[in-house]
Subunit: 383 residues, 2 copies
């Protein structure tokens, strides 16, 4: 198998468009020169629309985890309580990060189970300076109710930090309208750039929270980023090729328009769910609350009786398609198909077709066709 | 002027070879797959030779500053004393980083002035858990005596953290022989890869220092890197294209051999100094100690009477060559020519020739030729 010709249907890294790869391979430039600053400003302008925010946006040379840490580390003193909402691996990560900087009060749901807003509010009533939420819990394919959590945060005067790593740029996110003080996205997810950069929006209120804070981290010091942003620069040497790539990827986003992009993502995930249903594959998330939804960017399914998630992944890989298994204790029990970035209907159609063949050969399903037909019916609404 | 056809003669980012740019523009891969791990191992193997170490080496998706912070943050408790040696901007940065994590005892030399080993030892006698040194102080073009400092660190049982950002891969560095517990390098300097990655070697003794430490940083948690390294992975999503690029850049290093590379760097800087001398341009560093040397990778010169460093930089830029000015309070007073990475004699010859023309036109020197001749005489020893 030619590795370079593998179709990535993971929840990131996602396939990167040839024009983005070409942009990335330009010769180096001086990161303190005018041309870098122009690129920086161009990225920020498009990102403001993607984030739906008037807040400052900074570009960090580090993964989404770096930006998650920057958000918590810069706003949390050691006696501050961080209410951490967990229903998957990345919620757990946010909790672990918070524990290194403050006092954690965690709402720990079983992974894949939606949050009960009453429970969230009860926790907030115990007092919290900050609340952290994973908008789209990639590890379990659930979309958490960011808008509702934002309302509760506002009511209880808590800072709202949202990990939008696998929604921003592909799913509906309204940073300002939802009252998100700090929102975070990674380059290699819905924005379809290579991994290595993260973008973070920071409200005035969040800056106030870090005004008197002692011992900010250094590389992730958001105040340093703000100071350098006035000159359209980064405080430390940026990963220049990744900026070239991000800029081109953002132009693709702009050309498509966020409205069309959001519709395409939602339709793609819906098609995968329809196909799964036609193949009698169960969704993994337990949506026991009306305000939670299946993810619009990654679909997590239970491995059908008689096959593990890892076997499905392996069989798909042999056919040239990379999907994801389960993480931590979900390894083997679930499998996940990412449909984020510039993924097109044809990519989803191929994935479903191959999945049907894999399951048929393993004698998990008896007929091929129903999955493909169901997916097509949904995707054809985009035509 | 075509920006893509500018010759970068800065102390990083440096020009990146076309084959490195091509390697970087490959399609994305799964960072949890076998192909990534093979690339990771290949990089570490070559880096062990570059660092001259048997210690663990980790690859961070972040700039050299991130690795500097990781070194200090993971080994320093808030009551620990860090002896920070400063004679330039990056020494100052190390001091600022240390101040966020422990108690700083700084030896603050005037920028560009070499360290007096007796003074260093006196400071060590006051008690220090850790000593930080910039091996090559890029901001002022001085090479600090890492080997001697290593001996003093050993004698006084202090952890030795060395920033080798602009030496490792181009200048002589013997991490283990010199007793360097943590050594740091950036991708965009002597290794001639694009910016965005940093590599860090960590001794067992350094790991012992972080064994019981509470509240390690998260993204820069070296214990997490060690754990993932056992699987030839990184703990968080790596900047995949920069790994493709680094691997290819390291193959170039290996093909040239470190011995030849060190000789080429030393000869290149010597040629620039010879040219400067022939043009009556003074070196900036004050080498008032026998164990300090002019840098082998960047040459810092005083702006001659009648012109500022920034004007020289501007005039050179108009002729298609990017050099560097002075940083902070040295802005305008000095100018710097980088000669690191894959810089060839012809690049240095062109730079000197253009510099002579710039200075002649500004009526700073009366004749062109002596600089070129002096540089050529040194560089021709490489033929």
């Amino acid at each position: 198998m030619d590795l370079e010709d593998t179709l990535l249907m993971m929840p990131g890294p996602v396939p990167v468009a040839p024009r983005v790869l070409r942009a990335m391979s330009k010769p180096m430039i001086n990161h303190r020169g005018a041309e870098f600053s122009a690129m920086y400003d161009d990225c920020c302008e498009i990102l403001a629309d993607v984030f739906q925010t008037k807040n400052d946006i900074f570009l960090l040379s580090g993964s989404g985890t770096a930006a998650m840490e920057a958000a918590v580390a810069c706003t949390t003193e050691k006696d501050d309580v961080v209410l951490s909402l967990e229903n998957g691996k990345f919620g757990e990560r946010f909790k672990d990060i918070a524990a290194r900087y403050g006092k954690v009060n965690a709402l720990e749901n079983e992974w894949g189970h939606s949050f009960d807003l009453n429970e969230v509010e009860k926790k907030l009533e115990e007092g919290a300076k900050t609340i952290t939420l994973i908008h789209n819990e990639t590890s379990v394919g659930i979309q958490n109710p960011a808008k509702d959590i934002g309302k509760l945060a506002k009511k209880h005067d808590a800072l709202f930090i949202m990990d939008g790593v696998t929604t921003i740029g592909g799913d509906l996110v309204k940073t300002d309208e939802w009252g998100v003080d700090i929102a975070v996205v990674g380059s290699q997810k819905c924005l379809a750039a290579p991994p290595g950069l993260s973008m973070i929006s920071v409200s005035d209120r969040a800056f106030e929270a870090m005004a008197d804070k002692e011992n900010l981290p250094y590389y992730l010091d958001l105040k340093a980023y703000k100071k350098s942003a006035d000159k359209s620069q980064t405080p430390y040497t940026p990963a220049i090729p990744l900026f070239f790539a991000l800029q081109e990827a953002l132009h693709i986003v702009k050309e498509e328009s966020m409205d069309a992009r959001i519709k395409r993502h939602a339709t793609g995930a819906k098609a995968i769910r329809a196909a799964a249903s036609a193949m009698c594959i169960e969704m993994f998330p337990q949506l026991n609350a009306e305000h939670s939804h299946y993810s619009n960017t990654v679909t997590a399914m239970k491995a059908p009786e008689g096959i593990t998630g890892n076997d499905i992944k392996k069989d798909m890989m042999a056919r040239g398609i990379t999907i994801a298994g389960g993480q931590s204790h979900l390894s083997g029990k679930i499998f996940r198909i990412g449909s984020m970035g510039n993924v097109q209907p044809k990519d989803i159609m191929l994935t479903i077709q191959e999945l049907e063949l894999v399951l048929k050969k393993r004698e998990i399903i008896s007929d091929i066709g129903p999955g493909v037909e169901a997916a097509s019916e949904v995707l054809d609404t985009l035509l």
